[in-house]
């Protein structure tokens, strides 16, 4: 029986791994890309060769992880560490060139050189930075490494001034720079203006890993395993064995396959494993397949179906009426009067358990549904028409309604009139 302290340390290690996106020791499935980028940046740092490159890959494919691990490795080289200057920008933070320029100036530690004068105006700032960068040359000045996260957002800046200038520097005999852009848009080159595009070197590193399912399972196992240097070797061994057993379980494999089929994203995997891990307690010291199943259920839950569970009977009846209308009129939009009519028809037919409601009350329920965005007005009909006649559309799928009705707590049987 393992001691609780060991369990808590192991949980701490794993949580850190999942929450802080702690880097794996080596990039998984991106080895060649890693080598390419490392070589490229090394040349900038050591030879003073200017370069520009884009790392393209879907969200969660490990672009940032790739860049970070390359930078870590790069900065381990002594020759590089003392030479290179790093400027990190993010398209979500530096939303226009003015802010970006200030940030660059700050990160290059240039802002105090001429006092507050630098921040006089946007134009001065640009001229100042360009002047500073122009002064350097290949052999004598320190290379500057620009990383532009969410690169595609920089292309929306006015005239793409920043990108033009960065790429222009990278193509002229000035201070050596390396411009590394990270983006999830495959069509990023089409966003670049033609002269900016011409100055970009057209190097793209595709952060795409052709991972298959066995590798995925292996990755899961690796992510859940405790490291070799864990203080108590025996505990680590036991834990790792239990993880191995878990990954070989049939139901777990099904869950993982479902996730794998949905996306190869690292982050969603981390979420799944984290949910399972959070149920591990001293009384329940290993990850059981049931925990993982439960976590998977939480992850893949349909949010709209869940919302339906919280509706009143009246609202549910209205939803069903709308569904009927949809069925009859092939997804044509409807208005309140139509729904109310349908609802009244239902009441006339079988009103054993459902009370009849005043019209204002029904309107209130209808409006509530609109607030929940289960229905939404058709574009353009919102303003002029009277509330009751506004055209609406149901934002629920047939299956979602059916599922909700089946799961609704104490649903009156006659409400279930979905025939």
């Amino acid at each position: 029986h393992s001691s609780p302290s060991h369990l808590s340390t192991s949980l701490l290690i794993l949580r850190e791994r999942f929450c802080f996106q702690k880097l794996p020791s080596a990039p998984v499935g991106l080895e060649s890309q890693h080598k390419h980028l490392l070589e490229l940046l090394k040349r900038t740092a050591i030879h003073g060769e200017s370069n520009s490159v884009l790392i393209v890959g879907p969200r969660g494919a490990g672009k940032t992880m790739l860049l970070k691990s390359v930078l870590n490795e790069l900065l381990d080289v002594k020759e590089v560490k003392s030479n290179i200057l790093l400027v990190q920008l993010n398209g979500l933070l530096q939303t226009d060139d003015r802010i970006a320029l200030k940030e660059i100036t700050r990160q290059l530690n240039l802002e105090n050189v001429v006092g507050d004068k630098v921040f006089g105006s946007f134009a001065e700032n640009l001229a100042f930075l360009l002047e500073a960068l122009k002064k350097g040359d290949r052999s004598s000045s320190r290379p500057v490494l620009f990383t532009l996260d969410e690169f595609d957002l920089f292309t929306h800046h006015k005239n793409q001034t920043l990108l033009y200038n960065l790429f222009d520097i990278s193509q002229s005999a000035q201070t050596p720079v390396a411009v590394v852009g990270l983006t999830c848009r495959v069509d990023v080159l089409e966003l670049l203006e033609k002269r900016v595009k011409s100055r970009f070197s057209h190097r793209q590193i595709q952060a795409l890993s052709p991972m298959d399912f066995p590798q995925y399972v292996e990755l899961v196992q690796q992510q859940l395993s405790l490291p070799q240097e864990f203080p108590d070797g025996r505990f680590a061994h036991e834990w790792n064995n239990s993880v191995k057993a878990l990954c070989e379980d049939k139901s777990v494999e099904d869950v993982l396959r479902k996730h794998f089929n949905l996306s190869k994203d690292f982050r969603s995997l981390h979420m799944l494993l984290f949910l399972a891990l959070s149920c591990v307690t001293p009384s329940n010291p290993t990850i059981k397949p049931s925990l993982l199943l439960e976590a998977s259920r939480l992850c893949t839950m349909d949010c709209k179906a869940n919302m339906l569970h919280g509706l009143s009977i009246l609202e549910l009846c209205l939803i069903i009426a709308m569904k009927h209308l949809n069925d009859h009129y092939q997804d044509e939009p409807f208005n309140f009067e139509m729904v109310y009519n349908e609802f009244k028809k239902f009441l006339q037919r079988k009103s054993h358990s459902v009370h009849s409601f005043e019209k204002p009350v029904v309107i209130k329920a209808f409006e509530h549904l609109q607030q929940l965005e289960l229905i939404r007005p058709v574009d353009g009909s919102a303003s002029r028409t009277q509330k009751e006649y506004q055209l609406m559309k149901l934002l629920l799928d047939h299956t979602q309604v059916m599922e909700a009705l089946q799961r609704y707590p104490q649903c009156p049987t006659d409400v279930n009139w979905s025939d």
Binding site: V56, P58, F128, A132, S201, Q400
Partner: protein, 902 residues
């Protein structure tokens, strides 16, 4: 024109002293001898006469400008013509160390600059000042008079030179003969009476031989210089004939090239018969490099004869040859000053004659007798002056046939190589020559002020400085940085407010911070592939741009003609990105700057702005103003200042060449920025040449309103995308004998790029990537070490292959399924658009078909959004939820192709 009366708050009054001494009715101007300056509170007026030194209002209240009054004239307003002096503080920072000592606080320097305007308004006079000339070896008086200023040296914007008190200044009253002698006396130590007599008699006989003869000689030598480009000839003509004010004439007089020309002229005339055959030969040689040895023999004496004065060892053999290149330089001056220098020239001729008659007469043998023998004493400086101008000639030979730039350069470089070989690797020779060349006037002055060897020492010291400067300039890639930058900070130009910043910049020049320098030096390329990669980088500027000769020639001749003609103009250059527009213009400017450094062209100033490198079109004004005058202003103020500057009639200004890159970004609603840029060159005295670069050929028609397009004019040039042959040539010329690529590989790249865009940058980038791939693959399996077809193919694939397909292939199963569902729904609808809800129905059906568990709507939306962020799908905003419309961003075929593979 703005005036500041900050120094003296009281008002000053100005009044002519006496009657005008000379009147020009045509220009309605009168010349006076003196001027009264009286200050309001004070009774006694101060009389200022020509020849006196005056203080002129400057930007610095403590140090007003100093000048010598040459002329007083009135044409409605009161004007002066002055010879400027400068304080040490007015010398540009980077040149101050050329002085080699700390300046005396009361020291000033005679200012010589052709481009500097000597005309000022009388109202800028503050008062008179005592200026005293000191011989160069004299020390400054310890307790001098408080107001007195001293000058020893002259500053000609390039170097400090020794001057004498009077010799430099022309005295209009001196009779003709003495004028012709005056330079001689200046040049020579003590002229021997007999020699002088002989010289004079020849001079007089020549002068009296009628002006017709002179004119004939002029024509003749002009003819002999027919291989000089016409524009250059024109420039000479202009330079020679434009002197109306004494200041200008004096400048010309002091200008060594002109003096040389005179010598050349006469020499050419006298030696014409003797060396005509040689000239012919030389002419042929210039066009045919095969006969180089002869040419180089012709050139060699200049070096060897130069040596004694440098105190260097020499080979006597070389000096036996007559300086045949002399007829290459045409005369271009009015006859009066031909005659003025005839004396000087004749001495030069005498020596040449001597050396012709006694071919074995070696300078070394002569040197010991220098002091005793007056004849050789005369000869010595003449020899020096000859020796000085010959390098100039040799320089000219390599630039003169401008119309055939390439071939001429080739020839000249070969000549240089051979010369270097001949001199057994003494490549100092050229540097000495060039050093001498810019040292010309000072040598003569030194000769006149002190006759003994001390002056020789001072000379060699000075020479050392100038040589050093030369080397510095040579090591610097762009002449602009070394030469043009101080231009803004040098001219003591009236009392214009523009000088405020340039003379005492608020922040020192080096305040703009740069990127800190490396702690470890950059590593040099280690192997062939790395070397090739360095050469193929777009940033490495090649010596010449292949495949753009015609465009180069057109732009060059356009700008050159404008500079020479002293007028303005616009040129519009268009072409798709990466076709070498900016590079060609820069190359043109480099060549022009080189030419102007060789004094073949009037000096000009080059300014570059880029529409992409500014935040707002109106910033163009600010940048132009700052680059012109080093002054900071807001956009509106800058526009006003520039407007004033370009509309101001100041004919002596140098030409400004303005390169406007990415012109289309200077577009504003009213188009006033573009309008001004193209309007300024049309102003009479602006002397502005605008080269505008943009991507689209029809920009003037498309976005410019009529008045702007009309001012832009029709001088247009369009750069065509490179053809594959040109791209191939570009790569090979860049690689320049570095064997890193297989021939086929280069061809493949260039064909591929030419077919796609013709962008040279792309071509170079692909080649660079191919070298990397080659390096990787050779580390895995050793191959030939050359970049082959396979490597290039891989690089091309990386850069040009659609990333959509690989993105789809690496997508998850559900994402691929969703794409299938999208296509199925499109086919069902017959449209290229569907709502998510519709697609999701298909998706669910497909899931069942594939035996997968159907996913919930939320998950389906997440899948859809993921495809949307990669832009494989185009989506409406997600608030539409189920109703959001889906479109493909790739063709259906591509999707099916990508999905079929696995």
């Amino acid at each position: 024109m703005s005036r500041y009366f900050t120094r003296l708050k009281m008002k000053r009054c100005y009044k002519w002293g006496g009657r005008p001494s000379l009147c020009n009715r045509k220009f309605k101007s009168c010349y006076y001898d003196s001027l009264y300056v009286s200050t309001d509170g004070q009774r006694d007026a101060c009389l200022i006469q020509t020849g006196q030194h005056i203080l002129v209002e400057g930007d610095d209240d403590d140090k007003p400008y100093v000048a010598k009054l040459l002329k007083l004239f009135g044409d409605g307003k009161m004007g002066l013509v002055v010879q400027w002096f400068v304080h040490f503080s007015e010398v540009p920072y980077n040149r101050r160390k050329l002085l080699g000592r700390t300046p005396h606080p009361q020291e000033i320097f005679l200012y010589e600059d052709r481009t500097c305007d000597g005309e000022i308004d009388a109202e800028t006079i503050i008062g008179s000042v005592e200026v005293e000339h000191l011989p160069p070896d004299a020390s400054f008086p310890e307790t001098g008079q408080k107001g007195t200023l001293y000058f020893k040296l002259c500053w000609d914007t390039k170097a400090f030179k020794v001057v004498d008190a009077e010799g430099r200044h022309l005295d209009d009253k001196t009779p003709l003969v003495s004028v012709s002698v005056a330079p001689t006396t200046r040049v020579l130590p003590t002229p021997d009476a007999t020699v002088m007599k002989r010289a004079l008699s020849v001079t007089l006989s020549r002068v009296s031989a009628s002006a017709g003869k002179l004119a004939a000689s002029e024509v003749e030598s002009g003819h002999s210089a027919s291989k000089l480009s016409a524009s250059k000839f024109l420039s000479r003509r202009r330079r020679g004939s434009c002197d109306s004010t004494p200041g200008v004439r004096k400048k010309l007089d002091l200008n060594s090239p002109n003096k040389k020309l005179t010598t050349d002229d006469v020499l050419g005339e006298l030696l014409n018969e003797e060396i005509e055959s040689q000239t012919e030969m030389a002419r042929k040689l210039q066009s045919t490099p095969s006969k180089l040895p002869l040419q180089e023999f012709n050139l060699s004496p200049l070096k060897s004869s130069n040596r004694p004065s440098n105190g260097m060892s020499m080979t006597p053999l070389r000096s036996q040859r007559p300086p045949s290149p002399s007829p290459h330089t045409p005369p271009d001056h009015t006859s009066d000053w031909v005659s003025r220098f005839l004396g000087c020239c004749l001495i030069g001729f005498l020596f040449v004659f001597c050396s012709l008659t006694f071919p074995l007469f070696s300078p070394r043998a002569r040197t010991p007798s220098q002091k005793k023998d007056p004849v050789s004493a005369i000869k010595e400086p003449a020899l020096g002056s000859l020796a000085e101008e010959l390098p100039e000639v040799s320089e000219q030979t390599d630039i003169t046939p401008r119309s055939k730039r390439k071939s001429a350069r080739l020839v000249s470089s070969r000549i240089r190589k051979q010369l270097n070989l001949l001199n057994a690797g003494e490549d100092q020779v050229f540097e000495d020559d060039s050093g001498d060349e810019c040292f010309v006037p000072s040598k003569k002055d030194a000769g006149s002020t002190s006759e003994d060897e001390e002056s020789g020492q001072a000379e060699s010291e000075d020479e050392g400085i100038s040589v050093k400067k030369r080397r510095l300039a040579a090591s610097c890639r762009t002449p602009r940085s070394s030469r043009k930058a101080p231009a803004s900070a040098r001219t003591p130009h009236k009392s214009s407010s523009k000088k405020v910043v340039s003379n005492k910049p608020r922040t020192p020049r080096h305040a703009t911070p740069g990127i800190p320098s490396r702690s470890l030096p950059a590593r040099k390329p280690g192997n062939v592939l790395e070397e090739a990669r360095a050469r193929l980088h777009v940033s490495s500027v090649p010596d010449s741009l292949p495949c753009r000769e015609q465009e180069f020639q057109d732009i060059y001749s356009f700008v050159e003609s404008k500079i020479v003609g002293g007028n303005g103009g616009c040129m519009y250059i268009s072409g798709v990105p990466g076709t070498g527009k900016t590079a060609t213009v820069h190359e043109v400017i480099r060549c022009l700057q080189h030419a102007s450094e060789q004094d073949e062209l009037p000096s000009f100033r080059f300014i570059e702005i880029n529409g992409m490198k500014m935040t707002d079109p109106h910033q163009a004004y600010v940048q132009i103003l700052q680059k012109l005058t080093n002054q900071k202003a807001t956009a509106d103020h800058a526009a006003a200042l520039l407007e004033k500057r370009f509309s101001n009639p100041a004919p002596q200004k140098e030409t400004t060449v303005l390169l406007v890159d990415e012109l289309d970004l200077l577009w504003t609603k009213k188009q006033n920025v573009m309008y001004n840029l193209f309007d300024w060159p049309t102003r009479r005295y602006a002397r502005l040449v605008v080269l505008a670069i943009a991507n689209t050929m029809d920009l003037p028609e498309r976005i410019m309103i009529n008045r702007v397009a009309s001012r832009l004019g029709l001088t247009r040039m369009s750069f065509q995308p490179y053809s594959f042959k040109q791209l191939q040539q570009i790569i090979t010329s860049r690689l320049n004998q570095v064997k890193a690529f297989e021939e086929d590989a280069v061809q493949l790249v260039s064909r591929k790029v030419a077919a796609l865009s013709g962008d040279a940058r792309r071509c170079l980038d692909i080649c660079r990537r191919a070298t990397e791939i080659c390096e990787h693959s050779s580390s895995r399996q050793p191959g030939s070490g050359l970049v082959g077809m396979a490597h290039v193919m891989e690089a091309l694939d990386e850069m040009f292959s659609s990333s959509y397909i690989s993105a789809i292939r690496c997508a998850s199963t559900q994402e691929q399924l969703f794409l299938r569902a999208v296509i199925a729904e499109f086919r069902r609808l017959g449209l290229e658009e569907a709502t998510f809800q519709q697609v999701f129905v298909q998706h669910r059906a497909l899931c069942r078909m594939e035996g997968l568990q159907p996913i919930s709507v939320s998950e389906g939306l997440a899948v859809c959004q993921r495809l949307g962020t990669s832009r494989i799908l185009l989506l409406e905003p997600s608030r539409l939820d189920l109703l959001l419309r889906v479109r493909l961003n790739v063709s259906q075929d591509d999707v099916l192709y990508a999905l079929k593979e696995d």
